[in-house]
Amino acid sequence: MINSNPLNVGRRRVFGSVFSPAPFEARSSGRGVDNGNTQAASPFHPDASFSTIRTGSFNSPQPGKSFSSTLDRETWNQAWCLASDFLSLPHAGFAEIYNARGRVENKGKASRWHRPPSQEVAEALSYLACSESSETSSELNGLHELLLWYGGEIRRHFLANMRQGLHELFRREDHEELIRSIVECLQLARRMYLTPVANHVLKFAEAEYREKLMAQLQRVFHTVVSYSLPWSKISPLISVVLAKEALIILGIDTLLNEGDMDANDRDDDAMEVDRRYSVFYDHWRNESPEGRERMMIEGEDNHVTTARERLLMFLQGLQQVGLGGDKTQKVFASVMNIMMTEFIRAAYTGKWEAPSLVPQHLRHWVEDVFARLAVQVLAIIHHPRMADKSTNILNVSFSDVEKWQEMGIARLGTLRTSELFDVIVEWPASTGAIEDLRHFTTYPAARSYLTHNFITVLNQRLLQPGASTLEILQLYIAIIRAFNLMDPKGVILDRIARPIRRYLRDRDDTIKVIVSGLLAEPTSTPNRSALPSTHDTLAELPTELSKAHQLSMENNMSELDWDDMNWMPDPVDAAPDFSKSKGTDVIDSVVSLFDSKETFVKELQTMLSDRLLQNRDNYDQEISVLELLKIRFGESTLQACEVMLRDISDSRRVDASIRRDQGLVKLPTRPRPKRSAHASFPDLHAKILSRFFWPIIPEQEFKIPDEIAALQERYAAGFEALKASRKLTWLNGLGQVLVELKLADREFSAHVTTWQATVIYAFQSDSSSSSSSASEESNTTTERSISSLAEQLSMTPSLVRSACLFWVSKRILAESSSSSDTYHVLESLPTEEEEHSSTTHHAGQQAGQSAGTSTSTGPQDNTTLTTSAADAAAAAEAAAAAAAKESADAAAMEKMNLYWQFIMGMLTNQGAMPLQRIVMMLKIVVPGGFPFSNEELREFLAGMVAKGKVEIVSGGNYKLVH
């Protein structure tokens, strides 16, 4: 038993109520003392006083008469004793009640508590009912006073017996059964307490008081129950039960077990039954409109009905024992709150199909299922004071339902917001989700929630080093399209795009990806040879380019259209510098990432030059893209690109005429060059570029074969004759050569780069002097070392090595066993390999010229030679990369000269400086930043020290030497 203050007080109150009449009586008579003693000794174990009372007879005093004599008083005391004894409650009880719970009605047990009143008791009761209270001031009669006392008795008994047991229950069980047994126990107790009064006592009271008296006792019971059961312990239990039943009633459990359900559906024939009543969004979608109306009202499932009954019963019990009321309403509200979220999550996650009916479905669900449960529940657990007034009035008004629907839509918006990233990834298969969001983003708070949330997700999942620029751009385009649908004003997009754009601007390769995307063909054609495959470019861009153009033509004037009756101001959350036109057009947004068009045009030029220099039949794609871009950027911006395109088409004509004039055409049809045949010369075609308009093309310098050089001279002469005052500068590093090699046992032909061709030519030219017929047929193997080739061709060694490795991968050259870096022509293949490798080369020739392709398409063989060929191919690629890097390094050194100017200026004007300071200053003042590290600069400066341009003075400061 808890020994706390309130309890002591309570006990004192109980005792006070029991003994209150006694001292009063004791003063008046001896009998009264006697009577008082018995009461004091034990009010629960009546003894002698019974007999005395039984002997006396009660003459019902007339109401209104006062106690004038001691006899009256004595009689009253006797009656009181008798009645209170009848009503007094036996001591023990909780264990019995606990054991009795669960049995239906448990009449037997309960009857032990309900002795029917004996004749005397009945008389005493009716006497009391007629007599006045012993307290003269009170207006109540004896019966009222008796019931007041009984209220105290209930309190006392409950605290003494039930409370302990209930507290033990908390310790024993901790699942949801607990609350049920508690409620059942309390119900039994309540019946135990109130039945005697209801059955036997109340009939003596005046009719108009009966209800009031009963309510009074009930209130006493409720008070003591809520006093002794801590609400903090009860409410979680109630919410568990509520949640469990609500899950079933609201249909959430079926949604959660969707997988199992579907499996079951296929097995048995319950399909049709399910169809009629279902909270499934998919089922509902497939239903006809009339069916939709009915779907959630009719044909409730069995288990739902039972759950509903169970829940209502439980709540009834709660209400009866005083655990209902507004406290439980609160619990119920919080449970329903969770349920709504839960339902929305379970029902609509991943349901993104367009056209979206989710909001309608949700509204239906709220109205038909959610609100229905709420009405039913609230009808039971009402506030006790409201009880009599609102029995017939619905506790749930229609405006409440509407409010719930709005809440539901808001929750749906939250769900969709959290899914938004995946929705965008799935775009355009997920249009429905965006439509849902449109219902959600109608007020500023929701919009800012959405933007804030989405930006956080973007930062986490997209705008990080792990995502490629291409992915980011693709998603950005999807975002533009999706948000256009959601918010045609483009305000949300405007906000969301900012961090993306800021991030994209920091990426080095953004422009490259965009431009290559623009130039990519909308339908990827397989026969494109020289460019990387299109699936990893932004292939949407060209389509978007032509589409967006038409659109912009249509609503160009919308902001200036004064007659537009549908005009709306920008929403309040629009950024101050918001302008609609910027955000909505994909091409515009992508291109405007960079504030100057120059950067974009420059990259476009580079990309265009790469593509135009390929040997292709037509450049329609480039031309059309350029035309569309011209509409956007204006003619002048893209003038250089225009010239580039014209160069290419002009060169074709010029090429033809020069070749004709110079007699370079051997046959009327395009002749195939036969290098092996003597006296004939290779076909030379040229593209004539206007140097001024083309970007700087990185180039490898080397000496081309004399034969070709001679042709070039003739060609150049022809050009100068055609176009006076112009000169040709040959860019030998660019271009393609069709090489045909005739070896002892095989022939080989492929398009290769000029430097690869030059290197292989070097292997031939030497032997051609020794034999008059086709050079390769001679069996004398020529060996070349890389260094000698590099010298002979004035080519960088790394480029030579790269070319040699390329030919090794084609199995034309082989590395000499004697010394590394020396190669010879592989005149004939090892015999067992012959057939296999010829197919390999054949396949390689068809599929393109990539070395990797040729080895992988060939049949895989475990012989060492195949492996070495594959290795060689890889090595060739690596060597090519190395060569490319070398030329890039050379370009970087070129730039270093510029930095040297900066360093000189710095040291001249600011005096001697330490290295860190120099680097820091360079980073500040050099446009585009300073790309080298401290170490690289130190190395560079060391070179300058060696040249005597700078010196290192005290403290590691660099100082110019004057």
Binding site: S596, Q901, G905
Partner: protein, 181 residues
């Protein structure tokens, strides 16, 4: 290229708002000055003129530069290294920079605290001038002082009367700043 420099239309709205609130296009102006100065520096570096050089100060503030003029041949200043400071106003190039000689110099148009009397640095300033043209003008001023409006009357007089004495004065006044640093 540095895209962040002039990124007004894509910057966060908050920052833009504050810019709008606090004093007009202050920031934009500073930005355009910086951009202009950067371009000038680039030009100086790409096509250096003989005998002149200039560079922003090491504190990273592009609005303050140090320049160096090497005394032109066949002038009293031949072989001397003269240092100057450039202070650019916020509305450069619409106002001239403040140019001062840091190296003590004896010159008719320069006073003893280094202030220069040169019309293009005062009322004849135009936005088409730049650091390079100012420096070239100063370089030529060393050889052809404008004695009509001298700041150093003694020097002006001496220039006209006694070149040898003038050169002596120049050399006695000159001190290389490098030694101090």
């Amino acid at each position: 290229m540095d895209y962040t420099m002039e990124d007004t239309q894509n910057s966060a709205p908050e920052s833009l708002e504050t810019t709008k609130l606090s004093g007009a296009g202050q920031r934009n102006e500073t930005q355009s000055v910086t951009k202009r100065l950067q371009a000038e520096l680039m030009q100086l570096m790409m096509s250096p003129s003989p005998g002149i050089s200039a560079f922003p100060n090491a504190d990273g503030n592009l609005l303050a530069w140090t320049a160096t003029i090497t005394g032109p041949t066949e002038t009293p200043y031949e072989g001397l290294t003269l240092k100057l400071t450039f202070d650019f106003p916020n509305n450069y190039p619409y106002s001239p920079p403040t140019v001062l000689f840091k190296t003590p110099i004896y010159h008719p148009n320069v006073d003893f605290s280094g202030r220069i009397c040169l019309d293009i640095l005062k009322d004849k300033w135009s936005a088409v001038y730049n650091v390079q043209t100012v420096l070239v003008s100063l370089q030529s001023l060393l050889g052809e002082p404008n004695n009509a409006s001298p700041l150093n009357a003694q020097a002006a007089e001496l220039w006209d009367s006694d070149q040898a004495e003038f050169k002596k004065h120049v050399l006695s006044r000159h001190r290389d700043l490098d030694d101090e640093e």
